[in-house]
């Protein structure tokens, strides 16, 4: 297989573009895709202070690498979820990445901040670990961005993540979630920091290839809680479709953004107001994160009265 650009030996095939690239031209292709996402979706404004959510995995570190190379004003945020060796490895890789590049990194520890790791929080609140994790991360990204004066939060969600979520939301007709699924989640309330997903144009195979070719030492092991997750089933289904017809995932997600999303969002964003307990934006009187942690703390206290 030959590189589309230079006819040298190809390193990465991008079937959905009917192309293959040598290592240097693939790096150029990937960075151009991220740049295109940032510009066409108007993700960043001049003088933007970006908080990059970094897990230590291939996507978030690849994203941070591209933003650093572009010269964007970035600070990393890593959340220690307290998931045993997986969290220890993730934190170590993230800290090493930041140290090697002289990049700023904040580390938040869920157990130190709220007295519970993800496993305990999920079990005691009655949520699945993925649900407790997703809710906690979204909450902390916004809270820490707001507290730190950042104007945007960037996450490493890629084309595969977005296509799998779209499939799941369509299968269950989750209209609220469909209305919120977008590469840019605008600031619709003064307490809400804009969220952007600059990897929405690139597949996770491409972000893994980018990370490997850039020599990024990311966590390969999977979160133990994600075993059997429905997202993996949906990704498998989409990959089967992709294998039979290259470009299916891209057409599915981009088609949604072009055709269905504007119709679903025609009613405007939901009304937000500050949470009565923590001041973070919510559609309810008390936000979902405060309700989850309160429920978990109450159950734990009922079991062990000495806990705070």
């Amino acid at each position: 297989m030959r590189c589309l650009k230079c006819r040298g030996v190809a390193a990465v095939e991008v079937r959905r573009h009917r192309a293959a690239y040598c290592a240097p031209h693939f790096l150029e292709f990937f960075e151009a895709q991220v740049h295109r996402a940032l510009t066409t979706q108007r993700m960043l404004r001049p003088e933007e202070r970006i908080l990059v959510a970094v897990s230590g995995g291939k996507d978030s570190l690849a994203l941070w690498e591209v933003l650093l190379r572009r010269g964007d004003d970035t600070t990393g945020l890593h959340i220690n979820l307290g998931i045993g060796d997986y969290s220890r490895e993730s934190r170590a890789r993230t800290e090493e990445f930041a140290r090697a590049r002289g990049a700023r990194l904040f580390v938040a520890d869920l157990r130190e901040e709220y007295g519970m790791d993800i496993g305990t929080l999920a079990e005691a609140s009655g949520r699945s670990p993925c649900s407790a994790c997703g809710l906690s991360k979204r909450y902390l990204f916004n809270k820490m961005a707001r507290d730190g004066g950042f104007t945007a939060v960037a996450t490493g969600h890629n084309l595969d993540d977005e296509a799998a979520v779209l499939l799941g939301n369509l299968l269950h007709w989750n209209m609220d979630q469909l209305a919120r699924q977008a590469p840019v989640l605008e600031q619709t309330h003064p307490h809400l920091v804009r969220r952007v997903k600059p990897l929405y144009r690139t597949s996770e195979r491409e972000s893994a290839a980018y990370a490997i070719l850039r020599g990024i030492d990311y966590v390969i092991e999977e979160c133990p809680h994600s075993r059997g997750a429905r997202s993996l089933l949906h990704k498998g289904v989409l990959n089967s479709l992709e294998a039979a017809s290259a470009g299916t995932k891209q057409a599915f997600y981009w088609g949604f953004l072009d055709r269905l999303a504007p119709v679903i969002r025609a009613g405007g964003p939901p009304a937000l107001h500050p949470c009565r307990q923590c001041d973070q934006p919510t559609t309810e009187e008390v936000c979902a994160f405060c309700r989850m942690t309160a429920r978990a703390a109450a159950r734990l206290n009922a079991r062990t009265p000495s806990l705070p």
Partner: protein, 73 residues
């Protein structure tokens, strides 16, 4: 050839010279979900792997999700 795999971590010995596409197919692995690495280089599906080579087959699929959003970030 020596083939290193993940989830779980293990090493297989596969005899003879083979194409990457054939190795993945014989192992029942979806080419969309894996990258094949030899040394510092990524291999495309038509690359040949020699009997004396050592390769890594690395998964690229990650994450769980709930409440309409991926937990991975």
């Amino acid at each position: 050839m020596k083939v290193r795999l993940h989830h779980p971590r293990r090493v297989l010995e596969i005899p003879g010279r083979q194409r990457v596409s054939r190795i993945l197919a014989d192992l029942g692995l979806d080419p969309e979900a894996f990258l094949v690495i030899r040394g510092d280089a990524l291999l495309t599906s038509d690359s040949e792997v020699g009997d004396e080579d050592e390769i890594e087959i690395r998964p690229v699929i990650s994450g769980g999700w709930a409440d309409g959003a991926p937990c991975a970030a």
